[in-house]
Symmetry: C2
Subunit: 244 residues, 2 copies
Amino acid sequence: MKLSVYAVPDSVADKALKDKIAVVIDVLRATSTILAALVNGCKEVIPAVEIEEVINMSKNYEKDSYLLCGERNIQAIDGFHLSNSPLEYTAERVSGKTLLMTTTNGTSAIKKAVDAREVIICSLTNVDATADYLASQDNDVVFICAGTDNKFSMDDVIAAGAVISRLSDKVENLDLDDLAVVAMSMYRSSSDDLHNLLKHSLHYKRMMEAGLEEDIRYCLTLNSAPIVAVYKDGVIKTIHKVLK
Amino acid sequence: MKLSVYAVPDSVADKALKDKIAVVIDVLRATSTILAALVNGCKEVIPAVEIEEVINMSKNYEKDSYLLCGERNIQAIDGFHLSNSPLEYTAERVSGKTLLMTTTNGTSAIKKAVDAREVIICSLTNVDATADYLASQDNDVVFICAGTDNKFSMDDVIAAGAVISRLSDKVENLDLDDLAVVAMSMYRSSSDDLHNLLKHSLHYKRMMEAGLEEDIRYCLTLNSAPIVAVYKDGVIKTIHKVLK
C-alpha cells in the first residue's frame, strides 16, 4: 500500500489520485466540524467553494430542512445559520438537516479530491475509524491536507501522521513518500502533547487570537467523532459508525 | 526576521519573494555540486533549465573556457563534459572555467528565485557559512527547496532546518512559518545521523540504486564547501569564503 501526503491541495499532481483513496484533512476546522455535525445526526453535508454557491443551492431546499454553514478567514458569514465552530453543531441544531457549507481552505480541498476512487473526510477526531477503514481496503492512499492560505499547515500534516502511524501497525509493506515519513515522525514525537508542538503553528496562533481556544481543544481531541465519512456525488455522509 | 520554507518551487506564491533573500537548496545534488565547483576554483556557474539552452549558450564561449554540466533523471547527459556528481568537479577539471549547467530539479528552483532581493545557493555543505551570512543581514528569508519531481523531498527540508537551527542561535525574535518549525525540528532530532532519517527518502533511495553512495556521502557532509554563493544576473559566484 502506497501512502502519499500533499501539504496543500494545489500541489496534488494531475493523475495522482487515479484509482486511489483520497483522505481530506482540515483539522482547524472544516473537517472536524463536518465530522461533529455527522456524529450529531445531520442528514448530510454539501460542501461548496463559494458563498454565492451555498446561497443558490439553498433555494432547492424546503425551509427548515437546511442550514447555511461556514466561515471566511475564521469569521462567521453574515446571514448564515452556523459558523465553522464544531461546538455549534449540536444535535439540537443539526439533527436531520442538510448542511450547506463553505470554508476558506477545507471545502476547496474536498473538491480537489474528486478524481479519486473514493474521498474520505478525516480529522484528528476520527483517526482510529479512518485508519481501520483504510487498513480494510486494498488501495493506495493520498492524504490531501487543506493547509492554510495554500501553505503547509502543521495541524493537518500531524493528523495525516496520526493515521499513517496507526496504519503502519496494521498493514505490512507500507510504502511511504517523504512527507508521509515526516508526518508520521512528527506525530509520534508529539502525540503525548499535540498542543505543545501546534502552538507554534500559524493557524493555531490565529485561532487563539480570535478567542477560539475551546474549538482548538475540541479539534485536537482524538477520536471524539468515531465515524468514517465519505464525500460522494457532491454529498458527505457517514458510511460507518464505531460502536462504543 | 521572518523565515518561510517552501517544499517545492511551484508552491512559492507570487510576491512571496519581494524584498526577501531567497535561499535555494537542492542537496542531492545540484546545489552541492555548484558549491563544490566554486570551492574548487571554477570562474562561475551559469544555470539553465533546458539542455538546448546550455548548448546554445556555449556558442558564446571560447573553446576550453567552459564545460557543459548536468543531468537528467540522475543520469549524465550525452555529449556533456561533467555529470551532476560533485566528485567530478575537481580543481583540475573546473579551475578557471565557466560551467554551463542544467539539472532536473535544481536549476528550475534557482530560476524561480529571481524575484528575490538576493539569491543564495545553499546545501548541507555550506550551512554554517550561509547561516552566518543571513544572520548578518536584516532581511526576511524564504527557503526554496528544489524537491524531487515537484514533491516534498526530505533532504532539502532538512538542510533548510540546519540553517534555521543555526540562525535561531544567532538572531533574536525569529518568526518561523509552519514548515520552518518542522524543518528545524526534523534537523535537530536527526543531526547526529542524517543518513538514518534520509535513507527513507525517495531521492536517497533512487541514488543508492544508481550506485551513487559516494555522492550521497559527500552531499551530507556538513560544511565541506564553506562559502557563500550568490546567483545574480544569471551567474552564480562566490561572494565570501570562510578562512579555515
